[in-house]
Symmetry: D2
């Protein structure tokens, strides 16, 4: 007999919520029992015509009691600040929560206030949230009640840097991340600057050295390193729908060989189902990870061995959001980790 | 000594207005003296960073007196319904007007009300407006006070059909136009459905058989034909910035040879600076007309000679809007017709 | 116990073959036992880096004996003319074949010679091939040894026209199809005209009224109509990766109401898992079918009821090629028809 | 009376040569008298349909005598290694040459051999070539017989770094350039990896830390700095036609304020017609420079003032190739520097 779980998804009208719905409808051990969004209700065909005919569910305004009655586990794909209002209700009703927003990622409430511009309203649960980067926190995830699903940029950055930071933190002198993201990473907002004719055939940096994902990256990277590491981060907007590629410039105090680097990473990820260390000389390409839950990683080293360039690629909506959320669910429910994911 | 004209542009924050400004700043016989937009004011660098450093003009809220004081001729690139409020003011102050909106294209006020959903407020000037399709109405344009600059879809359609309708109206049995337009054709509106991630890698028909450009096409095509011709028109949204390609299916009562077709068109356009009849076997491509004022036209004929396929391509913002407006200005001012245009 | 099938795929280095491999690796009742391509051999990571880590299979030069030894059923995703050399070998070794090329779609060998430019070399098997349009030939497919998987354009056209042609052939006066396809439809060829900078931000018609898919469409449409119907077909190249949208202009002798049209289509497809008749007023969009096996269909009718516009959308690599091939396999093997497909 | 120059263009079938032709046909003081390409000959309409009707010139196989007879100045838009064969012929016939290839950019022949993989065949003229970065070498350009027109990546890099290196070389600790280029930057080659479906919706790094433009950047940057500076350079392929954006990470020994940085750059470029230092807080966007000869530059500084991020944007075919070549010609011929350029 196949084990199954009843899930709900809150915030299905956004790109992450829509992707979560798409993945979960196709998951053989999941029954999607509840879907919700506050600004859009009704038949799925009118919200995501792509999913017409795949579920009879009707999208409703969020009601915690109703969600709790129908579901064992709830995915929250709502904007930050909304999540910290909903999460305590669901937890107190005994439900497990996977939160795709930024609300529970920073363990420090004052740091949250600084970067997100509002005070944190659920400090109690902040303390017990588990950061859902599967490759680093699998055992904690298994037992978690509340998962803070990682941000898209931090997922690509931490997977690219964790092995080095774990074993060779002392050689790291500085880290600059040049990140490029497809447009769905900005959410499904109605803004002139996200209009087709503004973005198409265009490219630009935004929020240079000032993106709210920086403290999240620094927090978890410093944890694995066992020392404070800071990151200079410049994101850019790519004229494509999906995908993040980060080119990471790590200046080194001492020297490393490429051979050592490959060994460190291959060992670190050897049992991981969704991290691929590319062959020497190969570089990640977005088309190889889009619509998959994979993170592809490649390397280059300067002739003087003092600059290591790590490149990592993910799909921002899959491994960077909904796919990683499903992976977290698989771990929490004891399913095969790849179930329902490609 | 070079003859010059002082012009103003109202509505520079939209795509057509921005394109008009770009073209006119580069026109050797034009001095742009006044720029205006009602929702956006200030330095050009903040409205069109692309044009930074190319003009010291500041964009202001529209003021008819001010515009009239500074300019001989005013381009209106405002939404329909706005134009018919502004135009009478400028005309009464003795200024010439080139209106890029749909307000003066239909000679019949009740037809305007039917297709644009509001009554016409300037019926007096409607009667004296000249339809600015340069290839058909050059002499009238020369003397006009008010030009109704053609719509983008009608420009491509009329240039593709006028030669046939002029000499062979009797053989035309039916006309279906399958039109495809880049996204700037929809204007610079802030709508979810025009968002990058909604349009990119997508394609769809919209307003099938119900677009407001239909009566404009039928009116002027029937005029050149000397009989009523109706058009079935289905527009589509292309995931590109600029360009319109129309594939026109003309069913014929009698027979025509391709050779005859080429002769009709080559003769009709032989002195035209901006219409290119492609060589036999060649088909228009958008990349050959984008950022130019050209209209490229090609043909195919069915084996039984009963279906003629005419394809025409223009840049919707240039020949389909601002470029044609400049061409109209050149004619009105006695400049060389290609001046300032490519 | 789950029933499974051992399959091989020949021609995995092309887009259709690659897509077939991707779908079949994810199919719970399929074991991919053999992969082959004549111009590219080796590890899957070097051919489709996207599929790295998903199969240990090595791509080899085609060898019919080897394929037959390992597989029950073989997918051929090779160019036309190659397929008719391979197919007889596999059939004679007792294997079932699903051929994605054009080699077995036209029942008439001389028509094949006319449109494909070479004589047919396997006339014997041409006669027994079953046209794999699942919605029309499901029972024949169940028992077939050799499936001629439909072309991408004919799939969208036939699904859009079959219901009307089946019940109302007498009202059809003429049919013109304006088709638009993403670039993968042209195959994975190395040609300047398929280069990124040539296609991007471009759009054009090609082979107007002269595409080799015309006789295939006419053959099967005439069969369901019970009379000869001819089709005027103009394909265009869309600057996107995947998807076909066809806008079909059907001139009618008599009159039809939209209400009748919807009833005809809804009844015809009411049990079909992969055809969606959109709600009244809705039009298909490529983004709703790309990466799925669905065909979405919409309608518009002229005010005088004499022109019916049918629009249909599919993913050219999925429903238009590899997805439909998998659907055919599901029928042939007695699996659920949606197994392994979305 | 207007001063004019007779020019020839060799290599018009490539993207740079085609762009040069397009710009020069529109230049009021230029007569294009000779066009040539070795792999493609004939009417311009068959090579660049976009330029049909704009010149009666016929493209011929290159013949130095013929070119010299018709022209005062010749643009070479041929592949590297071809240019060093042609250039000496034209120079010896007394013609001025603007070479868009890499053949005369490195003053050191052995460095050329190392990075371009072949020995230099025209060492004599290498010594007298002037590097055509107008903003740095205007006076030398005025008198030059042979211009080595800068590479696209070096143009964006040097304009972004020259002011800092000129006045503050001592504070520069290290420089890493993360560059992103549109696909025309790769030339008009027929390769699978440049096919539309391979590049579209994709993004990747290539030749990380190993691009042949590195020595060119280091050479001229070190010259203005008066000391050796090395550059770590990682280029990426953007899925757009045109444009280069470079995000440059300059680690500083000492401290700089943003205010100082802006002053340095504004002073350095205050009389330059084609360099725009953006307002504080603004970042360059490709759409603002594509189809123009501008270079837009912006800045960000880390909180600890130890990392300066300089971003620069150009059109790779205009300021990065043909536009800069025309600017060089304007300087050489005593024309206004902006003539024929936007």
């Amino acid at each position: 007999m196949v084990n199954t779980v009843n899930v709900g998804i809150v915030g299905i009208s956004g790109y992450s919520g829509g992707k979560a719905l798409e993945l979960l409808l196709n998951h053989p051990q999941v029954r999607v029992c509840y879907i919700s969004a506050n600004n859009t209700q009704g038949k799925i065909a009118s919200i995501w015509p792509k999913l017409a005919g795949r579920t009879p569910l009707v999208c409703q305004r969020f009601d915690a009691q109703k969600a709790a009655k129908l579901c064992d586990l709830v995915f929250l794909a709502v904007p930050h600040t909304v999540s910290m209002k909903i999460t305590p209700q669901l937890l107190s009703l005994g439900k497990r929560v996977i939160d795709l927003s930024g609300d529970y990622r920073l363990s420090n409430a004052s740091q949250y206030a600084q970067w997100y511009g509002v005070p944190h309203e659920d400090v109690k649960n902040l303390a017990q949230a588990v950061y859902g980067l599967c490759e680093l926190y699998r055992e904690d995830i298994r037992r978690a009640k509340l998962i803070a699903n990682p941000g898209c940029y931090p997922t690509a950055a931490l997977l690219a840097l964790a092995p080095l930071a774990t074993s060779h933190a002392s050689v790291i002198e500085s880290i600059a991340i040049d990140a490029k993201s497809g447009v769905t990473g900005a959410g499904r907002k109605v803004k002139l600057e996200l209009g087709f004719s503004e973005v198409n055939e265009n490219f630009k940096a935004y929020k240079p050295l000032a993106h709210q994902h920086v403290p999240e990256m620094e927090l978890y990277l410093s944890k694995v390193a066992g020392k404070n590491l800071s990151i200079d981060f410049v994101p850019h907007l790519l004229p494509i729908n999906c995908g993040i590629l980060e080119t990471i410039y790590v200046r080194l105090h001492g020297k490393l060989t490429l051979n050592t680097v490959y060994k460190i990473y291959q060992r670190f990820y050897k049992k991981e189902p969704f991290v691929r260390i590319l062959d020497s000389g190969e570089q990640p390409e977005l088309k190889n990870v889009v619509n998959t839950n994979y993170c592809d990683i490649g390397f280059a080293l300067s002739a003087d061995s003092r600059l290591l360039v790590v490149t990592s690629a993910i799909d921002n909506l899959t491994k960077g959001a909904a796919g990683q959320a499903v992976q977290n669910m698989n771990i929490m429910c004891g399913f095969k980790e790849k179930e329902g994911l490609v």
